[in-house]
Symmetry: C2
Subunit: 322 residues, 2 copies
């Protein structure tokens, strides 16, 4: 029996699981939140304890790893984490191979999630696809000719920082109107807050934002992407404006990517994609309008949810266990 160990170093969550080759059910699965003051060493310590628990004294035949940050997939060296300090130039593949005496493959979370959806999810049977996760940030991973494409320096997939509105609001990256600036959860919240503040200053009789305020009992610190979606679904025009802008930005980004790379499918995952049908309809409509008429593609929901990186890690492990 071939035993695969799959690891997910997320920005806020650590997860380890084991699976038998050929199975689609976890043999064992453990996860823990990364503490607020975590650094690379503490994350590795927590992961070691999760690994010991899921391995239960068995030896893995291969290890697949999803890492939440830029990785050199060829060497398995982490470049850095945007969330947890101390990850600069940590040779994660080497560390794990020494500790567990099993071949190990490491890649960044968007690439690994793309591999997961391709092998086990919404991308099965599609040789070319772009996976996009829209949640705290917006990132992507490529499958071309049935294989991951990470780019010359491992940086491919950054649709989040494609500029779609050069006169739009300023993004953390310094540019204006990036896809992430308009479509990520936290930025949608920021956009909603700014619009709500503006409504208040206008002193005009308006019902815009009323449902949104009601849902968070007027405490704007409680705003989330989910709340904005709910308010929009209940007819709040301000929430609908924020959500429309997010869907529009994603749609333009997807249409641009379709023109540029012409993949068969776009697979969309992450919290923001749980928004309702009108969000999806706008994404698809704007993407079609942005793409040339001869360029065909589908925009579909990811199937593996939060487990996409872990199932992608299984695929990485299976490939080197053979």
């Amino acid at each position: 029996m071939t035993l695969i160990l799959a690891l997910d170093f997320g920005g806020t969550k650590l997860a380890a699981a084991t699976v038998k080759a050929g199975s689609r059910e976890w043999l064992r699965y453990e996860n823990r939140l990364s503490p607020a003051n975590a650094d690379a060493l503490s994350d590795i310590e927590i992961m070691r304890s999760l690994i010991d628990s899921v391995l239960d004294k068995n030896k893995p035949d291969a290890i697949g790893v999803s890492f939440g940050g830029p990785v050199d997939a060829a060497t398995g060296m982490v470049r850095l984490s945007h969330h947890v300090p101390g990850w600069e130039n940590i040779p994660l593949k080497e560390l794990l191979e020494e500790d567990y005496n099993a071949p190990t493959s490491v890649d960044n979370d968007a690439n690994v999630a793309a591999i997961g959806e391709h092998r086990f999810g919404a991308g099965r049977g599609y040789d070319s696809l772009f996976y996009i996760t829209i949640s705290t940030g917006v990132g992507g991973g490529w499958i071309l000719n049935g294989k991951p494409w990470q780019g010359a320096g491992g940086m491919a997939g950054e649709i989040g920082h494609m500029v779609v509105d050069p006169t739009g609001p300023v993004c953390l990256c310094g540019k204006r109107g990036c896809v992430e600036r308009l479509a990520s959860g936290p930025y949608m919240v920021q956009n909603a807050r700014e619009l709500l503040d503006k409504e208040t200053q206008d002193f005009s009789p308006s019902t815009r934002g009323e449902i949104l305020r009601y849902l968070v009992s007027n405490d704007l610190n409680l705003l989330t992407g989910q709340v904005i979606s709910t308010a929009a679904a209940h007819g709040d025009e301000l929430a609908q404006e924020v959500l429309y802008k997010a869907a529009w930005a994603l749609g333009v980004g997807i249409g641009n990517v379709a023109n540029l790379m012409n993949p068969q499918r776009f697979v969309l995952g992450g919290g923001v994609t749980k928004a309702g049908d009108s969000f999806w309809a706008t994404v698809r409509k704007v993407a079609q309008e942005t793409a040339l008429p001869e360029v065909n593609f589908e925009v579909v929901r990811a199937l593996l949810g939060d487990d996409a990186p872990l199932w992608g890690a299984v695929a990485l492990g299976l490939d080197i266990a053979r």
Copy 2:
């Protein structure tokens, strides 16, 4: 001796050449303008006479073909030409294989030019590159993992219709602010004419456009991208504005593509790239600003000039002659 026949069906020009495998000089080379009232059949007839001339009764070992329009590279079927009527669904590969009894490979001009620059030009030794031609239109071709990437439906590379300014002028494709709408030669001419008309209406004392008008003896029908470049180099502020906008659009497009695909090099060819150093400096600066700081790439000049598609056709032929 392996003899390769290379063909270029351009929008306005037809060319045929022969080369011995291993050589970088044409054995024979012929070209002719496609007449104004050309259709697919007349183009094929002209090409047959060019072929007879360059073959000089020899039999080619393989035929490589660059076609100026969308092609299904797998089957060698032309989808259509945007310039010459009657090309819809012409089985070009099949026709040539029957007529000349040699294996034939057909792809669209941007892809073939990318292959040419990769094998013989500015892309030698680079496994991942994006070739962009900026002339009558703006198009691109991909090399990834050392091989062409045409997309699932043969439509990849369309950077020309990436939207970079959603509030910009309307493009032929119906969208606003496409790269091609701002950076192609004919559209640069249109933008210059509109600005010149505006200057005239303003009745304000201005030297903007004076050099431009002087260079065409005040006959705006004589405006070309080349004239705009020359006027800009001589300090004409209106011409500089048009050229800057073109370089800016290209720079944003290139930076977006760098974030998305992370290729090693961008190779730029076509008439517009003959503009001066300030054009190139703007393209490079804006591309760097648009790309994330971790994304490294170079923007270089194509080396093969107008012969890039024909040399790419040689590479196509060499690959199937082996």
